[in-house]
Symmetry: C2
Subunit: 413 residues, 2 copies
């Protein structure tokens, strides 16, 4: 049965790994504390904790902090806190209008960031991978020069991906089909290449939002990318929902748009033809308007549109109203099916949050069958267009929490 069965028993070295991981997770999730409190909080013997902390300290993953301030019984102990400023995870997002790179250290702070306007759909995939390789190599070199080692890279792609083979299976908006992205990047980085993984942009955005949310007690979250394509990343009971083969969250082509509108995927009436970035630009401005210029960074073009909305430009506001209606229909559907605690609107939905959120929230409240929309709160992302790359960096860093031993061996080699 094992609907919620226990994990298997462990051998000795996996126990050590699990205990190191347990301590790191504790320090990350709950903050620094004394060895005595770590022993109390984990249930591990004090001598074991002392040994494990020494090992983590030598590996650069934790460090001594100040004296323990509160909640301590007896003589205050010295705090041990998360370190890991000498290592980082890198996330790279390839999207329709740009390529961006972000590097986070173990505590989650941004230590490097790069972004380039690229008309990806009109550029051969190999040339895009050249650009990606260059951006990642530059970022890693910059970090290395200040003593920071990159332990892993995660690529985010806007479409259907195969994480096992590292292939972008099908991303209609950038015209990629069966592109070996992971192998391509590994070849370009050469001998210095760290672990490289590939994941869908929406899934990585969901991870970033889940890790950084201020809302307490969130275990179920849906993140909606807002770019030319629209995808959902789903966190269920605190874990990323990938589905049988990694395709969960493919909402961009649900038949929720105008049945006459052509989609680059070959279908008609896909949801992203009604709520994607292209739809917003089409509704808000004529073809020769500057906001359609793919050589200008997308955030700049959206700032222009936002300026128009703030100036109460009628066409812009009407476009946002139309978009809000189509957005509401899909969001309500996701809330009915997934009952998330948080639904986070990313990308351009977040840029225009002030013009969209109220209308979408009203629609959700009126149509979702669960009382009070099942307790779902609708919020614009505060991570903007960086959420997928950030999620990629977090995922790369997760290797540290999962297997501190391997990472310490790596950083010492």
């Amino acid at each position: 049965m094992a609907i919620a069965g226990p994990p298997g028993a462990k051998d000795r070295s996996s126990t050590r790994r699990a205990n190191l991981s347990l301590i790191l997770n504790l320090l990350h999730g709950e903050g620094g504390r004394s060895r005595a409190r770590i022993a109390a909080d984990t249930g591990l013997p004090k001598a074991t904790v002392t040994n494990l902390i020494a090992e983590l300290m030598e590996g650069g993953l934790v460090r001594e902090g100040g004296a323990e301030r509160e909640g301590a019984v007896g003589r205050p102990g010295q705090v041990v806190e998360l370190d890991g400023r000498a290592l980082c995870g890198v996330g790279v997002e390839i999207n329709v209008d740009y390529v961006s790179v972000i590097a986070l250290d173990l505590p989650g702070d941004v230590v490097a960031q790069r972004r380039l306007a690229v008309d990806v759909a009109s550029t051969p995939a190999e040339a895009v991978l050249d650009t990606v390789g260059q951006l990642v190599a530059e970022t890693m070199a910059e970090l290395a020069s200040s003593g920071v080692r990159t332990i892993g890279v995660t690529l985010a792609a806007p479409g259907v991906i195969d994480p096992v083979r590292g292939m972008v299976t099908y991303a209609s908006n950038i015209g990629w089909r069966e592109v070996a992205a992971v192998d391509g990047l590994r070849r370009r980085l050469g001998r210095s290449a760290p672990e490289i993984h590939l994941e869908n942009d929406a899934k990585l955005g969901a991870i970033a939002e889940f890790v950084t949310t201020d809302t307490p007690g969130v275990r179920d979250l849906v993140y909606l990318t807002g770019a030319t394509g629209v995808g959902a990343g789903i966190i269920a009971s605190g874990k990323l929902l990938r589905g049988n083969a990694g395709f969960a969250g493919e909402v961009g082509h649900l038949p929720l748009g105008d049945p006459e509108q052509d989609c680059p995927c070959g279908r008609r009436g896909c949801w992203e033809t009604a709520v994607g970035l292209a739809a917003l630009l089409r509704l808000a401005a004529d073809r020769d308007d500057e906001v359609h210029d793919p050589s200008v960074d997308v955030e700049q073009r959206l700032s222009e549109l936002r300026r128009r909305a703030e100036a109460r430009d009628e066409r812009t506001l009407a476009a946002l109203d139309t978009l809000a209606r189509s957005l509401g229909a899909g969001v309500a559907l996701l809330v009915d099916i997934l009952n998330p605690r948080l639904l986070v609107l990313g990308g351009h939905f977040a840029v225009f949050g002030a013009y969209l959120v109220d209308a979408v929230r009203d629609h959700v409240r009126d149509t979702v069958i669960a009382p009070d929309a099942g307790g779902c709160e609708l919020v614009p992302s505060v991570l903007g267009f960086t959420a997928p790359a950030r999620g990629g960096a977090y995922l790369a860093l997760d290797a540290v929490y999962q297997d501190p031993i391997a990472i310490m061996q790596l950083t010492q080699s």
Copy 2:
């Protein structure tokens, strides 16, 4: 971070509980085996295994079997296998047209079954709970007379429920709103009442299908109830997806039906007005046709319709075609969002599987964005209308796997 963090460290008694649970889950999932193999498979010391098995045997949860046949090194040991025939879990389904009870012993065999045609929507909730109480009490008494103890009861209701308060919040098709079902049943069972829980029918159906599926390696499954109401039960990565407040899977009122069709919920165009049992009956037969008679058991009425379909009755076949189209639209949407390995059609969808599955499968293959429908297989349930009650019984039994100590204390008291 802990995107997939390790579980917390355990104290001694919770370690014993976890190890007992580990052994029971092993015997249930992988079948009986010798103490030596149990030690090898769990990584526990042989002496510990011997003690734990003695404890489980005394508690009636395992028993000695024959000699070990295959895969054993050296002298064949005696097999220890799951017992638990002296205890059972009970599931009760309350639906529009019937109330049914099913009892399963620990190995999952049916040890009692009862079913009554009840026009639940036209009967006061208290009178329905009287019937439920009577059916459950009779079943428990029958089992007790052959020495089988009921360790828990799970109620399945067709709608939005609050598992914490044990309330049916809102079930439009039976007209229940804020009905205290768990307290009501507990009061009727009096001092002999075991643990009672409440869950949505689709979620319990999903558990039953997940536990009993023959398809190897299924971790992601969607079960669709087919009755007057339509709901989805979702298993993601081997665990029931409940969502933030237990409302996940509320698909019956998605706007996928004819926008002019009224729904008992007060909306129009809900999916269940196009694919629910009432829709099928409305499409297939005039109001005065015998298949509309609520005093006749629903399975009997569906048998009559199936007989007509087999006789190639035009109206019946046209009704099934229409239903298949609407069903395909919703199923494709669920496959895009959840990427299940299996999508199981329950209730009347299963009864008419031969007339529905091919058309729905074609629609899914043509519209789902993932290649090869993301590996999703579409199957009619073989559990028929018993899936929700069975799932309830499994959930009641899961308490044994989660905490064998508590159950053994209970059965010995």
